[in-house]
Amino acid sequence: MPDDSLVIVNALLIGLKDLRQRVRDRSALIMGVVAPLGLVLILDATLGSVAETTRFEFAVLNEDRGELGAAFEGLMDELEADGVAVVTDVTDRSELDDLVADGSVNAGFVVPPSFTEATRSGNPGQLVVVGDRSAPISVSVAEAIAESFASEVDYVTLAVASAAATGAGDPTEIAALAQTVEPPIALDSVTEEGRGFDPTSYYAISLSVFFLFFTVQFGVLSLLEEEEAGTLARLRTAPMSPAAIIVGKLVSSFVLGVGSMAVMVVATTVLMGAVWGDALGVAVFVVLGVLTAVSLAAVVSSVARTAEQAGAYASMAAVVLGLLGGAFFPISSASDLIGAVSYISPHRWLLEGLRDVSYGVPLSSIGGPLLAIAVFIVVTGSVGLMAAAKGVAQR
């Protein structure tokens, strides 16, 4: 039986050799750093900027000659000045319908003739929103704008009627006074950074975890590659224990995983200002995440016969669990069923833990994800280790 310290030295030698190989063929670099970092950049540039820079394209047909029609146009000017919308004025309905039909605008508003007169005489009219069916989001925004304007219009009517019910004041006076009462509620949309909801951190965490499960495959699966290349048999004849070979492979996977995560954390923080949170918390989840991914890869490779098969199985596990765990899009909001199923995915727990850390939740309050991940590592890790030991002994 070889000396224990030799096992470690040999394992490290094998691990180092694997690492050198991966660095040389650049696949680990692509998978562990270039791909996730590039994707975070792209997602951040497209999706992240959408909320701030989107301008809805609206058309307005104002057929009313009264003050309300003018007020609606004023509202549109305001939206345009605020950079929320780009507004085109049109003069007849068919022009408006055409603009919507050919997709030049997302939605059009029609303020009908005598809208002011009708409203003031107690028979409120109807605002029409003409929407492009292929732009449901913009149409719902247009609807909300119209509804808000309608509330504003109805407010004066309501104020006059309410005042009349209490017998106070003259209707014309009340209507004039009504304009002077400020709206008491203001909606304050908080999506900016610092509150933990910034898209950059969101995608940085999702994609680092998603690609981690691919990156660590290299080390573990190389056991099968060595077997196919005939180098495993040669390693077995060397004076060292089979454990050294397995540990070596695990070490290279582990180092690749931790290395790629470390680069991702530092690069997204420095280059894009992502917020990962408390260093200790991040370190704990990174190490747990890498262990999870390594043990999953070990289990997967134990059921495969060839390296190619193992690669395909491992990718498939990474894609499916990533999809279920919400690495592509928030999965739990999709449906109750999928939300419940997602808890079998280690991605789900890792993302939850890392997001909590990023939001500033102390480690002691993230017990759920920690426990779930620990159970996952113990179960898959022991299965994977046993299978790998059996595999090396047989081959």
């Binding site: 692509i30 449901p136 989001i137 009627a161 005042a163 690669g311 395909a312 999965i331």
Partner: protein, 385 residues
């Protein structure tokens, strides 16, 4: 004939490996489930933090939001709990009403906080919340006015407004499409389904590039070329086999979601044409990647990242309609954007095959370009090895 033989052969190699069967049949099933559950009444959840003892106006806020339709509303006594659920993505947005909402309005306007996840639903939900705020503002302003004019307190004013409100006719908002037909029942599913199908057809196609590398590495490709078959024929054969698989998958997903979940894909000939042409683009891209890279590990990495990046940039994750103008134009360098446009026309606007000829033509040009490039690259890579 040669092309068909090569295609049949590459298909046989594909189905002999169980892992591939998963990608061909099980992954689409999973997608059908995800897509289907989206079709079967997806409602984003919004949390409203009303405090321990909700004020009447606070309770009304939640009710009105729910009545607005399209969202599921849950009220919370505690802000921390709602935030926690938002961070776990079990809520898509949270509205935080201040303590004593609607009862103490001294000084400036009261701020209602709105927190949302950075995803595509944000605008719509915020619109609904905006509408409730506008409505409550109207009531509160009227109540204040009445209170000061009639010399009563705000509660009495609110009570008067609530009473009078029932009898006051309101301005209606009617939403129609360009043909004047009612917009109600606008199909959210259509948008999501088209986007997801485009994303996965391409991604699955890209994963197939590993098989092309393998067949090169094992020398299968070189041996095929040693026969009287031309590079074009060999490439055509590889492409045809993969293309068949991609089309079957796409059609399978569309038909299954339609039969099982009642999803509406619009005109079938048009939808199938888009699926077919986009599958061709995806397959051609896979053949190109398969001709350029040297080992299967690299191809998974490149396939994944290119597939996801194009999907994000091409409007599969956040719809193109909310892209800023310049970015939307730039996004059309990806075939994904054209395919998404085509699906939008067919699935959402109910267009037929003639309405998507431009998109189909552009996609065919992409396919031709990618194939041309792939032929050159495959020839080069075989000469090198």
């Amino acid at each position: 004939m040669t092309v068909l033989l090569i295609a049949a052969n590459s298909l046989r190699r594909l189905v002999r490996q169980r892992a591939n069967l998963f990608f061909v049949f099980v992954l689409p099933l999973l997608l059908i489930l995800v897509l289907g559950s989206t079709a079967a009444g997806f409602e984003p959840r919004i949390g409203v933090v009303t405090g321990v003892e909700p004020t009447p106006l606070g309770a009304a806020f939640a009710d009105q939001l729910e009545a607005g339709g399209g969202v599921e509303v849950t009220t919370f006594a505690d802000e921390a709990e709602a935030r926690d659920l938002l961070q776990r993505e079990e809520l898509s947005a949270v509205v935080i009403l201040p303590e004593g909402y609607g009862e103490t309005f001294a000084g400036g306007p009261t701020a209602v906080e709105y927190l949302a996840l950075p995803d595509g639903n944000g605008f719509e939900q915020q619109g609904l919340v905006d509408a409730v705020v506008a409505d409550q503002n109207a009531k509160l302003r009227a109540a204040r006015l009445v209170a000061s004019e009639a010399g009563i307190d705000l509660d009495a004013g609110l009570a008067t407004v609530a009473e009078v409100e029932q009898g006051v006719p309101r301005t209606a908002v009617l939403t129609v499409d360009a043909d004047g037909e009612d917009f109600a029942g606008s199909d959210e599913f259509g948008q999501v389904a088209g986007q997801q199908l485009v994303l996965f057809l391409f991604l699955i196609g890209m994963i197939a590039s590993a098989a092309i590398i393998q067949s090169r590495r094992l020398g299968v490709t070189r041996r095929m070329l040693a026969t009287p078959a031309s590079t074009g024929q060999v490439l055509g054969g590889i492409l045809l086999g993969r293309f068949g698989v991609a089309v079957v998958q796409g059609v399978f997903i569309a038909v299954a979601t339609s039969l099982v979940f009642g999803a509406d894909w619009g005109s079938w000939p048009a939808a199938l044409a888009v699926i077919g042409v986009f599958s061709l683009v995806a397959t051609a891209a896979a053949v190109l990647v398969g001709s350029m890279l040297h080992n299967e590990n690299q191809s998974t990495a490149v396939g994944m990242s290119v597939g996801l990046a194009f999907a994000a940039f091409g409007g599969c994750m956040v719809p193109l309609e909310v892209f800023p103008d310049g970015l939307r134009r730039a996004a059309h360098v990806t075939p994904h954007a054209w395919a998404n446009d085509a699906f939008a026309e067919v699935v959402q606007r109910g267009g037929g095959i003639v309405d998507v000829t431009t998109e189909l033509a552009v996609l065919l040009v992409y396919a031709a370009g990618l194939l041309g490039l792939a032929t050159v690259m495959l020839r080069r890579s075989l000469q090198l090895s």
